[in-house]
Symmetry: C2
Subunit: 116 residues, 2 copies
């Protein structure tokens, strides 16, 4: 039975683990779980994938409804979750809403795993 030190980085930036054995604190874990919750749905993964592969790196809702075979309200709902998670960026131009990957967001999420 080893004693582990629990680290709660109160502020946002959880950078460069100092040293010693440290473990995710409750608050940190909640924040990171929120990120993975956003990724924990096949349709949302496909949304990210389609947006990433789209011309110009952006897509509007009407481009996303058909390939997912979901209703428009459902797609809007998933997009909102991805935006709230900081993974997608939303820009309204005229009647259309264009969604694009937040630069580096996926990479930062990947780093969370390596840094676990």
């Amino acid at each position: 039975m080893t004693t582990l030190q629990i680290v709660e980085s109160t502020a946002a930036a959880a950078c460069c683990t100092p040293s010693g054995m440290q473990v995710l604190g409750t608050e940190e874990a909640q924040g990171k779980a929120r990120l993975f919750k956003a990724l924990a749905d096949p349709n949302r993964l496909r949304l990210l994938s389609i947006v990433k592969a789209s011309d110009g790196g952006e897509a509007c809702v009407c481009d996303l409804t058909e390939p997912l075979d979901l209703g428009q309200p459902t797609v809007s709902h998933h997009l909102k979750i991805l935006v709230d998670a900081g993974l997608l960026h939303r820009e309204k131009r005229g009647t259309w809403a264009y969604y694009s990957l937040v630069p580096g967001a996926l990479e930062r999420t990947a780093d969370v795993l390596s840094a676990l």
Copy 2:
């Protein structure tokens, strides 16, 4: 409106995206979502973190119950989910069950994100 090619890698290994614009297929997305589902809980993230930081890279249930402030059945339940997701390895020695990170599993999961 751009036409995107949907790729369904029937077999397991989804390596080296050939070229062109490609998008996660339904089946692939489900499999990958299952992975992230396992990570989409703060207590499971803490479990991974504690196991990783533990002496010898392994911990038994009794080491994990207290820091999480959860009942033993609940911890067992979370551990099972992580094992089923291929993230943790379970080895029974005597009365105790020792859990350890599956080597490279977190890194492979991180790669899924970059490869989205």
